[in-house]
């Protein structure tokens, strides 16, 4: 495992400490939980874009379908939350498998367009299937008791569960990225023909990465359903796919912490501006997109990293 520099370790430790103390200090737990869910979503997406080099424009399909699946399972079969989360994650992973099998055949731009089209199909299924509640979505999903023992009704206890899951997944993604499997993914990102010539079955690796990314995105979606208590059509809409791309792009594609930072900024922005500016939020997000693509491609963490590297060299 790659040795993290001491300063990086320290930064992570401080952040973790802050995160643990946050609800006690008075930061609104539901906002923090929403932030963590989207941060997980962005990290899952980054696994595919940043480390494998595949831009999926339909990740909302996994987020949204898992939100609906877990919500539906919890409501209909009175599952405890851990089973609900599992159902959502596995469901999203299976959908990811199907989508991946179709989409991996093409590269680059076609891949993005195919994922977008299939996600649109999933959106319409979410709209029209009787179990999903159509335009209203799924409401009043109970949080229940974790393992049947610990009640999650209080926002604080729910927060610590979300934080624990997020940290576990973040560590997991970090482990995947730094493993030999992760190195192959990076090789595929950099030069796929070379990887093929070296004998790697790149399609299989891409599919595994895709399914992993879909399943983690599904976990984020299921968590979000538990946190907010509802699943709506906007979870599966293509604008949600666009948002996660923005979070990753803004934070830094291919960095570990970038998506978390990007998610934090976008969610905070949306929260701050929601009541005040109406449709201008969309415009602002669009402007950030344009600025990022033109001038800021590495994202915040990427640019910071590049600046530090330059300073160390000078």
């Amino acid at each position: 495992m790659k040795k993290l520099s001491n300063s990086t370790r320290l930064t992570y430790a401080v952040l973790l400490a802050l995160a643990v103390v946050a609800p006690l200090v008075g930061l609104y737990p539901v906002f923090l939980m929403k932030l963590l869910c989207f941060a997980l979503f962005a990290c899952a997406f980054n696994l595919l874009l940043g480390f494998t080099g595949l831009l999926s424009f339909g990740h909302a399909a996994f987020f949204g379908s898992a939100a609906y699946i877990s919500g539906h399972m919890i409501k209909t079969y009175a599952l405890t939350p851990e089973w609900g989360l599992l159902a959502g994650t596995v469901g999203a992973g299976l959908i990811g498998l199907v989508v991946g099998l179709v989409a991996i055949r093409r590269q680059g731009i076609y891949f993005a367009m195919i994922t977008l089209a299939i996600a649109q199909m999933v959106y319409f299924l979410c709209l029209q299937l009787p179990q999903t509640g159509g335009e209203d979505g799924l409401q009043s999903v109970p949080r229940g008791e974790l393992f049947g023992l610990i009640s999650l009704a209080s926002d604080t206890s729910m927060y610590y569960l979300v934080l624990a899951i997020f940290v576990a997944c973040f560590l997991g993604i970090s482990r995947i990225v730094h493993s030999p499997f992760g190195q192959v993914l990076k090789m595929i990102r950099e030069n796929e023909p070379r990887a093929i010539s070296l004998g790697y079955q790149t399609d299989r690796y891409k599919l595994v990465a895709f399914v992993l990314s879909a399943a983690l995105a599904g976990l984020a979606g299921s968590l979000k359903t538990l946190v907010m208590g509802f699943a709506t059509l906007s979870d599966a809409h293509w604008s949600m796919s666009g948002e996660v791309i923005l979070m990753t792009l803004l934070g830094g594609v291919g960095t570990l912490f970038g998506p978390v930072l990007g998610a934090g900024i976008v969610i905070a922005l949306q929260n701050l501006l929601a009541d005040k500016v109406g449709s201008w939020v969309t415009v602002i997000i669009g402007v950030i997109f344009v600025v990022c693509v033109l001038a800021f491609r590495k994202g915040i963490v990427g640019e910071l990293h590049a600046t530090l590297v330059r300073r160390l060299r000078a």
Partner: protein, 294 residues
């Protein structure tokens, strides 16, 4: 008379509706294919340009009393000019990069334009009146043919095949196609490729805007009209194969009709039938129906 258990009026009506939708798919996917072919940019903003064309026509009528026929010429020119500006200011910087950045930038532009228009005009649509010359319907015996819709199909087909002819059979088209293949070499022959690229994007934008003006009397002119359409158009382009102009036109028309027929027999599926077909086509022919294998 009943066809497959549906009264023939309804059946023919839906086929016509399907043809009209297909005409729009054809026009938009044509513009998308041309822009992708020459610029290597997947223009997510194509739906927004379509919306801007419709809004331009509506604003021209509402604020300046300009009638439909003049708008058919003026609105595409306005939006085409906007397209040229977009190419100059934004897209030009992205050609050396991964084509995905073009997709992301145009996506951002879509959000900006839609947000602004939604803020000014609200999410619900404005109505645009059918021009008097084309109002009413003609009785063909087996069905009533709404005049305006017949006009839309006729106009789009003319424009589509005209564009195809321009690109595939004329000198200018040859320069365009050569510029796609090897821009540097074509420039050494004295052809101003950057200018050509800029004008191509403008022309693509104008095509989308023209579709928007044609659509205005049929569909509610709303800020969201483009984004709902663009994703289906993407699927059409994937099915038809990006490289082929004629492929986009034919696929667009065919899919419009298929969608219409689905609406007759199984309405709930009409939204997703194009995507289902896309998945099926990709299984069998990954390059698309008319596409050239990369």
């Amino acid at each position: 008379m009943e066809i497959f258990g549906i009264p023939h009026q309804a059946f023919m009506g839906q086929i016509l509706l399907g043809l009209v939708n297909g005409a729009f798919y054809a026009m938009l996917s044509l513009g998308l294919a041309v822009i992708f072919g020459l610029l290597g940019v997947v223009n997510f903003a194509h739906g927004t340009l379509y919306m801007l064309g419709a809004f331009a026509a509506w604003i021209l009528l509402d604020k300046f009393g300009v009638n439909y026929w003049v708008s058919l010429l003026v609105a595409p020119l306005i939006v085409g000019a906007l397209g040229v500006v977009i190419e100059r200011l934004f897209l030009r910087h992205l050609y050396k990069l991964d084509p995905l950045y073009g997709l992301l930038l145009t996506f951002g532009l879509t959000l900006i334009f839609e947000g602004v228009f939604r803020e000014i005009y609200g999410a619900s649509g404005q109505s645009y009146p059918v021009p008097e010359l084309l109002q009413g319907a003609t009785d063909l015996g087996f069905m009533f043919l709404p005049n305006y819709r017949a006009w839309v199909v006729f106009a789009s087909l003319t424009v589509c095949f005209g564009t195809w002819y321009l690109i595939e059979r004329t000198r200018l088209g040859a320069y365009l196609r050569a510029g796609t293949e090897n821009s540097a070499l074509v420039q050494t022959f004295g052809v101003n490729v950057p200018m050509m690229v800029m004008l191509t994007y403008g022309a693509g934008a104008a095509l989308a805007a023209l579709a928007g003006v044609l659509a205005a009397p049929i569909i509610q002119v709303s800020p969201m009209m483009g984004s709902n359409l663009i994703i289906v158009v993407f699927a059409v382009v994937v099915i038809g194969g990006m490289g082929s102009i004629m492929g986009s036109i034919l696929t667009g028309l065919a899919l419009g009709v298929v969608e219409g027929m689905t609406r007759v027999f199984y309405p709930e599926a009409s939204n997703i039938v194009v995507f289902v077909i896309m998945v099926l086509v990709l299984m069998v022919r990954p390059a698309g129906l008319f596409g050239k294998e990369a």
